[in-house]
């Protein structure tokens, strides 16, 4: 049964959907200066905020990922917690403007701060925090480090804190929100070593989180070879539409995955070639995958780092 959350009152106007960020200046829901900083309904009862393709700054509260929520008959699932306590609190307030249903689940898609540092904003809801089975260890290793960096940028009161998953997904899991179920899949090392994807049964929409970057250059922090493998696994799920971790709120799965794997494949092949040809790492970071430069936002910020990661992974093959 389809959830009845797409009530007209909450539907975005056709106009705003069409014009995306361009007409948002006149929307009263826009509480911030950042463009596109609002929630739009991308499927029945599925509300997503597009994170800008930017780095964390004091002005943006690290609100740079695509975050949102899914409303079932009984309860609400938060698809991503936000990039800081401030971002999480913003999302929670937006949810409460739209529904009084209990927030039963908050998903921590992976260890990166722009995805999990909003978690504490939902503490009073006592939700089930859903995460990959390796997330706890990853938070143990990096959580305080990330928090320190966020505190430097945002200040202690806006940064947020480390929240551990209470439902640790080993392989798959399913939660029922009433009238719709969300199925989780725990992935092998790819974008990070703790990537969790999910799929909504009512809409069929896939939520690959940061296993799928669109527009913004993918950042590699797990395994390049593994990511290509997990991309195949996402493809095999045969979803038509997806909400990527970064980029437009809703995309066609096939071309978006093609773009992602094209970049990752070039990164892999050219890095391997550099290693075989004894091109040193300091030169490889300037030469590998340069053909992709005009295809991604923040390319210069991340590509060299991705090459460094790829080099580290592949030089021991």
């Amino acid at each position: 049964m389809r959830a009845d959350a797409g009530r007209s009152r909450w539907s975005t106007t056709r106009r705003s959907a069409l014009f995306g960020g361009l007409c948002l200046c006149c929307l009263p829901t826009l509480g911030r200066s950042a463009e596109g900083f609002d929630l739009q309904e991308v499927g029945p009862g599925i509300f997503i905020r597009r994170g800008p393709d930017a780095e964390a700054t004091p002005e943006n509260d690290d609100a740079i990922a695509n975050i949102g929520f899914i409303v079932g008959d009984r309860s609400v699932l938060v698809t991503e917690s936000g990039g800081s306590l401030a971002d999480g609190a913003w999302l929670r307030a937006e949810i409460r403007k739209r529904t009084d249903k209990p927030i039963s689940h908050v998903v921590l898609t992976h260890v990166h701060p722009d995805h999990c540092f909003g978690a504490a904003a939902f503490a009073e809801d006592k939700p089930v925090y859903v995460g990959h089975h390796a997330l706890r260890a990853a938070l143990d290793a990096r959580g305080e480090y990330y928090r320190g960096r966020l505190v430097e940028i945002l200040g202690a009161d806006r940064a947020g804190s480390v929240v551990y998953p209470t439902l640790e997904v080993t392989d798959g899991a399913e939660v029922d929100l009433g009238g719709r179920a969300v199925r989780f899949a725990a992935h092998g090392a790819a974008h990070t070593n703790c990537d969790l994807s999910m799929r909504d049964s009512a809409s069929g929409i896939l939520f690959p989180a940061d296993l799928l970057f669109v527009t913004r250059i993918p950042s590699l922090d797990g395994s390049l070879v593994g990511w290509l493998k997990e991309a195949d696994r996402l493809r095999a799920m045969r979803a038509t539409k997806a909400v990527p971790g970064h980029g437009p709120r809703l995309v066609d799965v096939a071309p978006a995955l093609d773009d992602l794997t094209r970049y990752l494949t070039i990164l892999r092949d050219e890095t391997r070639k550099a290693i075989v040809a004894d091109v040193p790492i300091e030169k490889a970071v300037r030469t590998v995958a340069q053909s992709e430069r005009d295809r991604w936002v923040l390319f210069d910020t991340y590509n060299g780092r991705n090459v460094t990661q790829a080099f580290k992974e592949l030089e021991w093959e």
Partner: protein
């Protein structure tokens, strides 16, 4: 030596103690940074100079160190892409004069990153290393000439968090294959030095990477010595520290007329010892 650190606030002092115990120079000179000279991105020139003076004295004592533009040059990214893996190239054009080189990352918790002593089997024209950089810092290279004089050059690098950045995997995973080595050679040309790349699998734990499962820092465990020989000839000896990136990689040059297999012996500060032998390409082919 202290193996675990109970509180973050102790890191700097414990690491200072740790480097005190490290006889990186033949004379056994110890290195210590005073907490009063704590590093920071906003330091001005005079504070940086004061810090370098203190470090310099602790390593080299009163010896004169002359500035040089010609004996050694540092290549490093102005802004590091990955603070835990910053590639550094040291070039020494007048290579036949060079006996060794010291690499100091002034604002790292344990600044004395490496000392390399060249043997007769080495071509001292170029060394490449991958280091961790914990803060905006001057990097100093000090070369020692065969007649015992010291010359320095410096380069400013922007990076932060390289020593404390977590490895992105469990300690056990990071230690997998510890001590494995690869030695790669660039194509040999008769009469020309052969460029070699030594790769060693080792996490080189800095002691500043937290493992909250144990509510503790992963104890420092790092390669402290690499000795490379060819036949019965010394090629080079590297004394290392926590500033060397995990899975250390070092590029160096071999004299073309060297003979025999290349032996590498690496040890770490927890009594790990690994020895591997490699067949070197023959330049006479």
């Amino acid at each position: 030596m202290t193996r675990s650190i109970a509180k973050p606030v102790l890191v700097r002092s414990v690491l200072a103690a740790l480097s005190l115990a490290l006889p990186l120079v033949g004379a056994g000179t110890a290195l210590r940074t005073s907490p009063s000279l704590a590093a920071g991105a906003s330091d001005d020139e005079s504070e940086r100079l004061a810090r370098w003076k203190e470090i310099r004295t602790s390593i080299f004592g009163d010896k004169t160190i002359a500035p040089t533009d010609s004996l050694v040059k540092i290549d490093a990214p102005v802004r590091a892409l990955d603070a835990s893996l910053v590639p550094i190239t040291l070039t020494m054009p007048e290579k036949d004069k060079i006996a060794g080189i010291h690499l100091v990352i002034d604002d790292n918790p344990s600044p004395y990153a490496a000392h390399i002593a060249f043997g007769p089997g080495a071509d001292a024209g170029e060394i490449k290393l991958r280091v961790r950089v914990n803060n905006y810092t001057n990097i100093h290279a000090v070369v020692e000439t065969k007649d015992g004089r010291l010359f320095e050059t410096t380069k400013f690098v922007k990076a932060s968090g390289g020593c404390s950045a977590p490895m992105g995997m469990s300690d056990e995973e990071a230690m997998k294959g510890m001590g494995d080595m690869k030695l790669k050679f660039a194509e040999a040309q008769p009469g020309r030095p052969v460029e070699a790349t030594l790769m060693i699998r080792h996490p080189n734990f800095s002691g500043m990477q937290m493992n909250q499962i144990t509510r503790d820092y992963t104890p420092a465990r790092y390669i402290n010595k690499v000795a490379i020989t060819r036949g019965d000839q010394a090629v080079l000896t590297l004394d290392g520290d926590i500033s060397i990136a995990s899975n250390p990689v070092i590029n160096f040059g071999l004299q073309p007329e060297g003979q025999g297999p290349i032996k590498v012996v690496a040890t770490d500060n927890q009594n790990g010892r690994w020895e591997h032998s490699f067949t070197a390409p023959s330049a006479t082919n």
